[in-house]
């Protein structure tokens, strides 16, 4: 039987030259690749069992077994992997200034609830024990390395810890699985985690399976629960800027948690998170967790449109005076109401507000109210402002749309260029390569080493001054100050040129308005509007592009939101469906 075991250990690695698995033996007993004739350092020690004394085989065998153990690493579950990622992300959020309760209470709670709902832990019959008889095998050696792992959220002092992460059945599962893994490894091991294969095959109705993007849904839900000053677009941008672990988050797993095979599909990511996708996942997760109504979003919350509008007005260098107009639109549309803003997953139709997109949409609507953005009126108003500013150099200057456009266009183009360059230079691959099977391991590692060497070589050709490392995280991407003479700051400019007094009220000089969408699509497609760029004025296109870049979303998504704000604002017009709609005059 010793020999049999030995044969199992036959050399099955891929050739480092040509990736084939086809080995022959040279006269010296070394393995060589029959397809490319590459000779390895490895040699077959047992050629003929008759010649070699038994004792030696045993010794060899033991050596291999021990090596085997350390190579295979710890036993761990997929959900533990995700837990580890969530832990890292929570830590990162804490470092960004988010209160510690998020990590210790909220996220932990959500996660626990998830494990419970998905029947992975904290319940009577965890999914893994079904249909499998737990085999008791008292082997305390590796009795859950995880239980003693101090870094995990489960070990953070919290009320849930007392209940104990590891229930009795858990221990049983673990053991039974260990057996099944041992069996698997003899055929072909398909994952480093214990349940990687089962996990990727698990398909149950109503089950929300964890994925890497899902971790961000958890983060965002926690942020929302805590009413933190981080919007979804901020969160995703921090991910993109590597302030929050996401791409290759698995490489920070403990050394002994080995990943390969199916784990690759579960933990490997080759895309940045997408706004729409994470937004949908957030609702999905919240519904699955059956969460109660979230704390109210009131006027003093960062996520309230009035505050977000202020923030974005500053960000894009628009006059502060516009804020009262955005507040007015928010009020008229009812978008500032707590009932409208607060997320309630158990309501009939679970939906949450895209706070950042909506705030930006309100600003676009206000710009349309003031300047019409028909590639005509905004320029003639700019001429007026220019003339006025020339004559009255001492007064507070009138806001000049043209000048603003010129400055923003330049700043935006530069930003975008830098962003594109940085993306093109992004290094996706982790230091720990992911491979499909043990056979692929040496190839994967050799490739990695090769890439690292090539990179080293070429980095000597690059200018010694490295690009100023990681940007420090900020919720602002543009910075406008009065001191900067190169780039005019418009925050203090006045809207006098575009408003006129009438009695006690202020009216917009412009009395026209056009709707971004005339008719909403009622069919079952997911988008209610379509955005065909060329149908719209250049100014409108520019403004959509500018804002959608800031939020890292598609312009069409913002266009849709603008249309939805207009739908609320011009409710009557929509019900009458008049073609020309005039802007509402309103009081200040």
């Amino acid at each position: 039987s010793v020999l049999e075991e030995f044969q199992m250990e036959e050399f099955k690695e891929r050739c480092t030259q040509c990736e084939a698995v086809s080995w022959g033996l040279t006269d010296e007993g070394k393995y060589y690749c029959t397809s490319c004739h590459n000779v390895t350092e490895r040699s077959k020690e047992v050629i003929n069992s008759d010649i070699i004394p038994n004792a030696q085989i045993k010794a060899l065998n033991r050596g291999l077994k021990r090596k085997n153990n350390s190579e295979k690493g710890w036993d761990w579950y997929v959900c533990e992997g995700f837990q580890h990622i969530l832990y890292q992300q929570a830590e990162a959020l804490k470092n960004l200034g988010v209160g510690p309760e998020l990590k210790n209470d909220v996220l932990h709670n959500f996660w626990k609830r998830y494990l419970q709902k998905s029947k992975q832990a904290y319940c009577k019959n965890p999914v893994y024990t079904t249909g499998r008889k737990p085999t008791v095998l008292e082997d305390n050696l590796s009795h859950s390395d995880w239980a003693s792992e101090p870094e995990l959220p489960s070990d953070v002092n919290s009320p849930f810890l007392e209940s104990g992460m590891e229930s009795q059945s858990d221990v049983h599962t673990r053991k039974s699985l260990r057996i099944s893994k041992a069996l698997q490894s003899e055929t072909s091991v398909c994952s480093g985690s214990l349940d990687g294969v089962e996990y990727s095959q698990r398909k149950e109705k109503g089950l929300v399976k964890m994925t890497v993007p899902q971790t961000l849904a958890f983060c965002y839900l926690s942020l929302l629960w805590q009413r933190e000053a981080i919007t979804l677009s901020d969160l995703l941008r921090f991910v993109e800027e590597d302030h929050i672990p996401y791409i290759n988050a698995f490489q920070h797993f403990p050394e002994q948690m080995k990943l390969y095979g199916r784990d690759r599909g579960i933990f490997g990511t080759e895309s940045w998170p997408n706004y729409d996708d994470i937004y949908k996942k957030t609702i999905e997760v919240a519904t699955f967790l059956d969460l109660p109504r979230f704390p109210d979003i009131t006027e003093d919350c960062y996520l309230h449109p009035n505050i977000l509008c202020m923030k974005y007005l500053m960000e894009v260098n628009l006059p502060d005076e516009m804020h009262s107009l955005t507040c007015h639109v928010v009020k008229m549309t009812g978008m500032g109401e707590a009932d409208f803003l607060t997320f309630d997953p158990i309501a009939k139709v679970a939906k949450t507000v895209k706070y950042d997109v909506q705030a930006v949409a309100v600003i676009v609507v206000v710009l349309k109210l003031l300047f019409l953005l028909d590639d005509n009126l905004e320029w003639s108003l700019s001429n007026l402002a220019e003339k006025h500013n020339e004559k009255n150099k001492k007064d507070k200057p009138w806001f000049n749309f043209r000048k603003w456009y010129q400055i923003m266009k330049k700043a935006f183009d530069e930003k975008k260029q830098n962003w594109e360059e940085a993306r093109a230079k992004y290094l996706w691959k982790s230091e720990k390569p992911l491979y499909y099977s043990y056979v692929d391991k040496p190839v994967a590692y050799k490739k990695r080493e090769m890439v690292v060497n090539l990179q080293k070589q070429f980095s000597t050709l690059v200018d010694s001054t490295p690009t100023a490392g990681k940007k420090s995280p900020s919720s602002f991407q543009f910075n406008w100050t009065e001191e900067d003479t190169e780039r005019t700051c418009f925050h203090g400019h006045s809207l006098q040129g575009v408003l006129k007094e009438k009695g006690q009220s202020l009216l917009t000089k412009n009395s026209l308005y056009w709707l971004s969408t005339q008719k909403f699509c009622r069919c079952y497609c997911t988008h209610v509007t379509t955005y065909e760029e060329s149908n719209y004025s250049l100014s409108y296109q520019f403004i959509l592009n500018l804002f959608s870049f800031l939020l890292r979303i598609k312009a069409s998504l913002l266009h849709e939101e603008v249309s939805l704000v207009e739908k609320e604002l011009f409710k009557k017009k929509y019900s009458v469906t008049k073609k020309k709609s005039k802007s509402k005059k309103r009081r200040r």
Partner: protein, 468 residues
């Protein structure tokens, strides 16, 4: 050595920009004749890089491409842009990120990556100010050993790079390494590469040989060193012929290899061997049409003093491929001297043919031959032959050759040429033709007599006014 040992087009197409410049550089100046010698693998498969990307996008359909794929393809565009603008530094910076395509999870792209990286990387290292031979060597050695697909190609280009830097010995070593490289199955594409590698090695040996030969010619036969050098020369030729002969048997354009091989065969008196090689090179239908093949064969036969009919048959083919070649005048002479009437007619055709080309309009010999030969033909009562040739040209030759402008400028530049042309113009267009009249009007002391004679001949023989 014959620097015409140009880089053969090993890659079937330039799927990434860059290598083209690189190969231009490697070509070096063409020192032989005016014949441009190139080596092109025949039947190289066509490849459309743009089509590939198109197909990819179609296949993906509405599915979102992974950001990895997006950023790496953006990275590739940035590298290409930087290379176009000769911003080697920036290119190197992006290259640093582009290496990760070697680990692409898309196996198709992963397999294509080494070749793209090699092309871009070698281009950058060729020009980058901080790069040197050592850097290039390290890079090439690394790239060779990623997979087995590119080992031979890279080895060959590596050798050519070293050649470009004058490192002949190192180049030779690289070629030998590649030649003895152990590999898997022998595929046909690999076989061609091996032949090419061996042939380049042979070419380098030829270079040494011809240097030795020159030394030998300087030495006295009684010199004590003579026999040693002579022995050397002999050894080299033997190795070279083995190395080159395999390649030139395969269909393709192998000019530099064929030339040096033939030179060596001739040197050792193997005329039959040389002739066989050249005949095969020129006449084997599997080989692509190649004017140089016929030129080599012709020159060889001329050296061997082959009969006229044989020379004519070789040049006949060249005439069909390159009617404007300078050998056509030699061809005409051969035809004129021939006894066959059909050759005489062809001789006229050939001359007209040469002068159809803009590059030959100022070739005085051609005009002189034409003037003489047209007159001779007309005297020999073959008016029909001339008319036949003239028929297709009478619409455009007058303005192409015989305009008033040309008369003036030709006379100013080269009176002799102007006279020959005027004579032809007179014969073909009659004495009223502007070119002829202009030259006639010029008063020239030395040419006076000639012009008078010309005038008489035109009157007598011009096809415009055939003797009634």
């Amino acid at each position: 050595m014959s620097r015409a040992a140009s880089l053969p087009v090993i890659y079937s197409a330039q799927s990434v920009i860059g290598m083209s410049d690189f190969s231009e550089e490697l070509k070096g100046p063409v020192t032989d004749d005016e014949q441009v010698e190139t080596s092109v693998l025949s039947g190289a498969g066509m490849h459309f890089p743009w089509l590939q990307t198109y197909i990819e996008t179609v296949a993906i359909g509405g599915k979102r491409k992974k950001d990895f794929a997006q950023t790496t393809s953006a990275c590739l565009s940035f590298i290409q842009e930087a290379l176009l603008k000769h911003q080697w530094q920036q290119a190197a910076e992006y290259m640093h990120s582009y290496f990760q395509t070697l680990e692409d999870s898309d196996s198709y792209k992963r397999q294509a990556a080494p070749e793209i990286i090699w092309k871009l990387g070698s281009e950058i290292l060729f020009y980058h100010p901080k790069s040197n031979v050592e850097t290039f060597n390290t890079f090439a050695d690394r790239m060779k050993n990623i997979g087995i697909m590119n080992y031979l190609k890279i080895s060959l280009q590596h050798a050519l790079y070293l050649l470009h830097h004058g490192m002949l010995e190192d180049a030779k070593r690289k070629l030998s390494e590649a030649e003895t490289w152990r590999h898997g199955e022998k595929t046909s594409s690999r076989e061609i590469l091996i032949n090419l590698i061996q042939a380049y090695k042979g070419l380098l040996q030829y270079y040494t040989w011809s240097k030795k030969k020159r030394e030998l010619s300087k030495l006295d036969k009684d010199d004590y060193a003579y026999s040693a050098v002579a022995q050397d020369v002999f050894n080299h030729s033997w190795k070279t012929s083995v190395n080159i002969s395999a390649l030139i048997k395969m269909p393709g354009v192998w000019d530099p290899f064929v030339k040096s091989y033939v030179e060596m065969l001739e040197f050792y008196g193997d005329r039959d061997g040389a002739q066989e090689v050249l005949t095969n090179y020129a006449y084997d239908e599997k080989f692509p049409s190649n004017p140089n093949a016929h030129i080599y064969l012709y020159n060889f036969l001329k050296r061997q003093k082959a009969p006229r009919s044989k020379l004519i048959s070789v040049l006949k083919i060249l005439y069909q491929i390159v009617p404007s070649h300078k050998l056509m005048l030699e061809f005409h002479t051969l035809l004129r001297k021939s006894e066959k009437e059909e050759h005489h007619k062809l001789g006229l055709e050939v001359l007209f043919g040469v002068l159809d080309f803009a590059g030959c309009t100022k070739n005085i010999t051609a005009w002189k031959y034409l003037a003489k030969y047209v007159k001779k033909t007309l005297m020999g009562n073959h008016l029909v032959w001339v008319q036949e040739e003239w028929k297709s040209r009478k619409n455009w030759w007058p303005s192409f050759h015989f305009s008033y402008f040309w008369a003036k400028s030709d006379w100013k530049e080269d009176t002799a040429l102007a006279c020959e042309k005027a004579f032809v113009a007179g014969l073909l267009l009659g004495k009223g033709c502007r070119y002829f009249r202009y030259i006639l009007k010029q008063d020239h002391q030395i040419l006076g007599k000639k012009i008078k004679r010309m005038k008489r001949s035109v009157k007598k023989y011009s096809i415009v006014n055939p003797r009634l």
